[in-house]
Assembly symmetry: C2
Amino acid sequence: MTNQREKITIQQIADYADVSISTVSRVLSGNAKVAADKHEAVLAAVKALNYRPNMFARGLASGQSMTVGVITQHISSPFYDAITKGILEVFEDSPYSPLIVDGQWKLEIEKRALHTLQNRQVDGIIVVGGNLELETLKAFDQHTPVVVVAREIEDFKERCIYTDNFQAAYNATQFLIRAGHKEIAHISGLLEHPDANLRLQGYKQALIDANIPYREDLIVHGNFLPQSGLLAVEALFTRNQTFSAIFCANDQMAMGTQLALYRRGIRVPADVSLIGFDDQPASAFMTPPLTTMRPPAEEMGRSAAAHIFSILKKMPYEAQDHTCELIVRESVSRVR
Amino acid sequence: MTNQREKITIQQIADYADVSISTVSRVLSGNAKVAADKHEAVLAAVKALNYRPNMFARGLASGQSMTVGVITQHISSPFYDAITKGILEVFEDSPYSPLIVDGQWKLEIEKRALHTLQNRQVDGIIVVGGNLELETLKAFDQHTPVVVVAREIEDFKERCIYTDNFQAAYNATQFLIRAGHKEIAHISGLLEHPDANLRLQGYKQALIDANIPYREDLIVHGNFLPQSGLLAVEALFTRNQTFSAIFCANDQMAMGTQLALYRRGIRVPADVSLIGFDDQPASAFMTPPLTTMRPPAEEMGRSAAAHIFSILKKMPYEAQDHTCELIVRESVSRVR
DNA sequence: TTATATTATGAAAGCGTTTTCAAGGATAAT
DNA sequence: ATTATCCTTGAAAACGCTTTCATAATATAA
């Protein structure tokens, strides 16, 4: 039933339905009117012979690959994984297939990935995060539409799907401030990464707006990995800092932070409050469950896919808002 | 520099290098000898004109797509993600591209995925987990080679990359027993899932071999998700069971378990020891860090990719062993 | 040397579609 | 009725490559 002796071509369908191959092609692609009876006959033939069009012939003749490239950054970050998931979801019921290639957050590898996709003649690409520069992206966009997700690129914003990291960080910090905290440490992400920087700025602004002095000595630079959260706490203690709350630039570092605190017998949130960013799946099950900022990752992924599709179909795309949501759990308490 | 006016065809290379297109094709595919000087000339032309072969024309003419389908199960399980990562890694430096489609652990969707891949005429496929039945797989394998990873299918083992879940669970349980535990609860995974069942059996056998009675009332059936671990602990207490250790069929449930214990003020490992399975990234940063069984996920992914490549190249493949490793951290203590 | 087996090369025949083009039939307008 | 217009349809020309086949050139054997 799956396939009988392979190799059913459009010609056989034409013969079976007693029409020309042009007609078959037309009903299959829907690019032109054909009489109702022939239309039906063709469909019947397709079903009867279990015909599968040959993608290569199609691609060669039409110049369309029905494939969209996706450049991911697979350092197993739950946030990016969620985006990818959202993207794949939308592809599910589309005629396009995603071609996923890994950029690994390395410019060189990302460029190679772009080449691969170019070679495969994808009809469009979705870039998830990464470091590709504006010019590269724009050049590529010249011949193949590009959509970028989880990144905000000046002068290319109409093609970017992103969330306001500054505002989200601002809100997270404000939440801490409103709980009475004044000595709030911040463990930043990799500052080369725009998100990390934006979050740091948001944190800073929230302090300033609340008339709390911004203190360099309460900042530790991490790299988004859990281990760096742990190290950051050690650094804070080495500096002999006191603080009643920590805002981590992501949940992974919050986990490291939490462990460091636990090892020192410091309780969360009784002694120190903790707030993260990302709401990765594990965060809801930390002890205690982590209060964190949740970016609409899957939703952004879905938007990105929807966006590229509407470009391919030459339909207008209506931009959506993607704002982070504060998930209040149990890692923050009012200051003693 | 990226591409100048598109559309460089093999013909132009032939003209530029002053040879026939057949010759160009031959040096590019390496399927036949060509004189050294022409060989060089062609390569030079390719570089000079920045030629990229058209995949569709290639595929159409040769019948090869240079694409391998990967059916994943993207319910964001760190274990399966790690496998995918391993697979992608090996693809990186191969002429093949992976075509990833999501099976979502649903038979019907997996079958549709198989169809998609068939339509795209992949040269081979890698199935990560999932529920596809032996017959389906074998039928497909008739025309397109199949490799299965993270699953052990009777009568198809030569194509399966898996780890011994029974033995791993046995060892994990034995570790608890050797630490003096006798009342060991087990939170199983979804029993429809072979891995879950194997782990349960391994647990059982370890008890039996240690002369500890196997007690149904110490078993709770979970579904691999964290929430079910939490619920399982509640169930245990509702049943009024006493136990000094819990073996969870995966780390995610261990997190739920840990949270449930924490809520009740039960300390790990002081009051109850906990052991998981998978060693997901978050486990090393739980409070306390989780002792767990680590399956060589990435390695298995790499093996799967290597296996399919060797089949495609018609080279022999030497099977490798993939055994789990016990990662001892801080969630298990000797019994009081 | 001459006859024979190899080898490198080009011409040309596909591969299975889409799409342009022209023709024929039907419909509408005069 | 007669002519002009519109659709539907099939023939045939791409699409850009691989591969078979025949040929010319070269190396080997006699």
